[in-house]
């Protein structure tokens, strides 16, 4: 049994992907479900709680498996969302996306359980490739362009990470992936991680690409990339104060953009940035309570964000629409989806009895405990925005209003089952927080259900609702897009052409013309009836010999004179 005790969970999903590749189309979707189920069983019941695996490779000792409570809590939720996402995607027939999703999830597990930096980098780059592929086959008008931009940004981030790792190993002589002490190598690594954590201004790939994935792809995307980044930050950079500041900027940044956003999946994508901001800020605080908060919130987030993406994905599947200006009045036709979506919305908004209430409050409590009042103030403020958009604006403009008469496509049963399972877990964690708290890296001494916390949360959320009603006219979707930092590379073609490409092209053209004239001259000299060669033939031999001797004599004289 020792082999199974220390069998890397990543391999379970990677093997699943190979099997999926070989299966015929009709049963292929079940590969993800089975692989997800197997990896859940493996993580919860087979894998040793402190298992490690070391491998000798090219004279280095690699640690492809290092299990502890921090890696386990991320591993658990990745396994769960693989299963749920697999059930949600049971109706999908495309081979590429199924296989890529499994490889993507496997690589994410690979990063989470990696004990050395080389393994981290290897799985990190695999994650880039497979997640970009998931976007590429999204089947939407802009999927291809978004995937190319996504890959470009992440490969740049991955290279930065690799450079930092090489530098770090050269400095310290150690491949081990533990807390970084500082220095330029650590900053490069941090920069590489920051791209995947979607820390502004390096975040625009997220809101650019996720809404262009397929409805099933978005569920996996919303889970893996940013949360592996949260994990590696918690592992390597706990207590780095800069993360507190950027985390809070993230929390508010996403909220501002969500006000302006018309595409429902892009709105949710901006709220990923906002929610990951809570986790990054907690890592910046760096106390045991804060790291618990980051891990707990990541766990809860994967489930409720997956649920929200599944909910709007169901709307997109049924109506073909994803813009607030085009949607509305689905309350009658898609009631079940509304109810399930609202479970996710109440969870992300931290309503009592829903998962966010017990996870987000850990983060805010960690800030209170460390007496960082401004952070507490701003994080509460950001959570007003979360409820405003995810819990009020989005459902109101999708399901509310006069009933839509348009026919709605029926959802496959797998979608309902998957959303139901995610909703069940969101409520289970909210009602019985011990299931989550017991899995956290450090012992939890915090009690979320105090009268004070419940009533202040309800007052906050209730009056956010009142504000929403007052400002309803302002919050309607508008048929427009919102600029973000990706404008710097999406609009770069014209300036790039004017400043770099066209001068270069001109220079090459001129060089080409010059070369051309030399060739023409040579050709004329050799071949033309009046050319040099013909002309040379007409010179009498004697004259030629005299000329050569004269030249030789002059050369000799000149060299003697020197």
């Amino acid at each position: 049994m020792t082999l199974m005790n220390s069998f890397p969970p990543a391999l379970v999903l990677l093997i699943g992907a190979v099997v999926a590749l070989a299966l015929p189309g009709r049963i292929r979707p079940w590969a993800t479900v089975v692989a997800g189920g197997v990896v859940i069983i493996h993580l919860f019941w087979v894998l040793g709680a402190d298992a490690t695996l070391e491998v000798e490779w090219l004279g280095m000792t690699l640690t492809p498996l290092r299990v502890d409570k921090l890696s386990l809590v991320f591993g658990y939720v990745f396994a769960i969302i693989t299963l749920i996402g697999g059930v949600y995607a049971l109706h999908m027939r495309g081979r590429g996306e199924q296989v890529a999703s499994l490889l993507y999830g496997g690589s994410a597990l690979g990063v989470v359980f990696a004990g050395d930096l080389l393994t981290v980098v290897a799985f990190w780059e695999l994650m880039v490739v497979f997640s970009a592929y998931v976007i590429l086959v999204g089947g939407r008008e802009r999927s291809r362009g978004a995937a190319v931009r996504y890959a470009f940004v992440h490969l740049a981030g991955g290279s930065t990470l690799l450079a930092g790792v090489i530098w770090h190993v050269a400095d310290t002589g150690s491949l081990a992936f533990n807390a970084f002490d500082g220095g330029p190598a650590a900053w490069l690594v941090l920069l590489g991680f920051a791209v995947n954590a979607a820390i502004p201004p390096l975040h625009a790939w997220l809101s650019d690409a996720y809404p262009e994935a397929s409805i099933t792809g978005a569920v996996f995307l919303s889970a893996f990339t940013t949360k592996t980044a949260v994990y590696v930050l918690a592992r390597g950079f706990a207590g780095w104060e800069i993360l507190l500041f950027v985390g809070i900027i993230m929390a508010l940044y996403g909220v501002v953009y969500a006000v302006l956003e018309n595409d429902v999946r892009r709105l949710l994508a901006y709220h990923i940035i906002s929610q990951v901001g809570y986790m990054v800020a907690a890592i910046g605080i760096g106390t045991e309570m804060a790291i618990n908060g980051a891990a707990a919130h990541a766990f809860a987030h994967v489930l409720y964000k997956g649920l929200l993406f599944m909910g709007v994905g169901a709307v997109l599947y049924a109506t073909g629409k994803s813009k607030l200006t085009e949607l509305g009045g689905l309350g009658g036709a898609m009631k079940v989806t509304l109810v399930l979506y609202m479970v996710g919305a109440f969870s992300i908004s931290a309503f009592p009895l829903f998962s966010g209430f017990v996870s987000k409050s850990l983060v805010i409590y960690a800030a209170e405990e460390s007496h960082i009042a401004w952070a507490v103030f701003l994080l509460y403020g950001a959570s007003v925005g979360t409820f405003l958009h995810t819990g009020l604006k989005l459902p109101y403009f999708i399901w509310g209003g006069p009933q839509s008469k348009e026919p709605v496509r029926r959802l496959p049963p797998g979608m309902y089952v998957a959303m139901g399972a995610a909703a069940f877990l969101c409520i289970a964690i909210g009602v019985y927080p011990a299931v989550l708290y017991d899995a956290l890296p450090f012992a939890v001494t915090y009690e979320p259900y105090t009268a004070d916390h419940i009533v202040s949360s309800l007052a906050l959320l209730g009056f956010t609702g009142l504000g929403f009603w007052l400002l309803l006219g302002q919050l309607k979707g508008e048929a427009a897009i919102t600029l973000d930092t990706d404008v710097s590379y999406r609009k770069a073609r014209r300036p790039l052409e004017a400043l770099v490409l066209s001068p270069l092209t001109k220079a090459f053209e001129m060089a080409g013309q010059a070369a051309n004239s030399v060739v023409l001259a040579a050709e004329w000299a050799i071949a033309s009836p009046n050319g040099l060669v013909r002309w040379g033939r007409r010179i009498p031999t004697g004259t030629a010999i005299v000329a050569v001797l004269l030249t030789a004599a002059l050369t000799v004289l000149w060299s003697l004179a020197r």
Binding site: G145, V259, G328, F377, T450, L458, G462, R490
Partner: protein, 78 residues
Amino acid sequence: MKPSRRLLIVVLVGAVVAVLADVLLGGDEAHLWGEGVPGYWAVFGLVWTVVIVVASKWLGRVLLRQPEDFYDDSDADE
């Protein structure tokens, strides 16, 4: 879209209940300036909602909003 009357009633009842509960049950543990004042979190929620919407809309107007075809001529594959 006209705000529905039913929504207003739900929201108002919820808000009143929340404030009453806060006044009756709220603890005195305070981390923020003024947190102990009755109705603090109600005012907090309302003010933040207004600030978020007004500030974001303003940013959108002066800087961020663009027509939907803004990127159509520049994305490499289109």
